[in-house]
Symmetry: C2
Subunit: 127 residues, 2 copies
């Protein structure tokens, strides 16, 4: 299967502009072109795009994604390095989740506070 840039955008969840931007900055390899010079994405291309969106969603900076992308080119020899990057990134995602969870507690506390205010208010009316 091949995909036009519009189809690749739809399936990856990135915009057309973002796809071209990622190509410009070396995050994705230039895809094949059709007879009219238009980009033609393969399933492999799409898989990579989808994986990139996962990395992006988890807050990996573009320069790190690019580093990872470039290691991919020197295939097997860099597998250790790439694995290491993913391990470190996974640790940072876990830390981020923990951080969010601790902030959630503060939100719970604050919301509880507002509920108490409401409660007091209702008591004041019904008393």
């Amino acid at each position: 299967m091949t995909y036009s840039i519009a189809q690749a955008a739809e399936r990856s969840g990135l915009s057309i502009d973002t796809l071209r931007y990622y190509e410009r900055i070396g995050l994705v390899d230039p895809p094949a072109r059709d007879s009219g010079g238009r980009r033609s994405y393969s399933d492999d291309d799409l898989g990579w795009l989808v994986f990139l969106t996962r990395l992006r969603t988890t807050g990996m900076p573009i320069r790190m994604m690019r580093e990872y992308a470039q290691l991919r080119h020197r295939s097997a020899a860099t597998a250790g390095r790439r694995k290491q990057m993913l391990l470190e990134h996974r640790a940072s995602v876990r830390a981020r989740i923990a951080e969010l969870q601790s902030c959630l507690e503060v939100l719970d506390y604050k919301i509880g506070h507002y509920e108490q205010i409401e409660h007091t208010f209702i008591e004041g009316i019904t008393a």
Copy 2:
């Protein structure tokens, strides 16, 4: 207790520049000034700053924090609105955590893939 801007920065985890920036854009009320015209933060000011850092850490955009900050000025009457904002924000933080967790699974899968490569490589040597 009162705090110089440097002390407030240290205790809130924000930079001095960020404190002044937050004041400029209306995220924090202008604190009291000492005889020399320097900012003098109260414990209340500090509590608000710390809460702001929680909102920021959880990704609340500044314009929303500002809205919340401004509702605070019209005290009790806006408690419902503020609670609503926190409820919505809590939902978005929970969604974000879920999103990160689902990306973690992808990372686990990829890392597992690299481990399999290593394993195969070692088998190839020892066989």
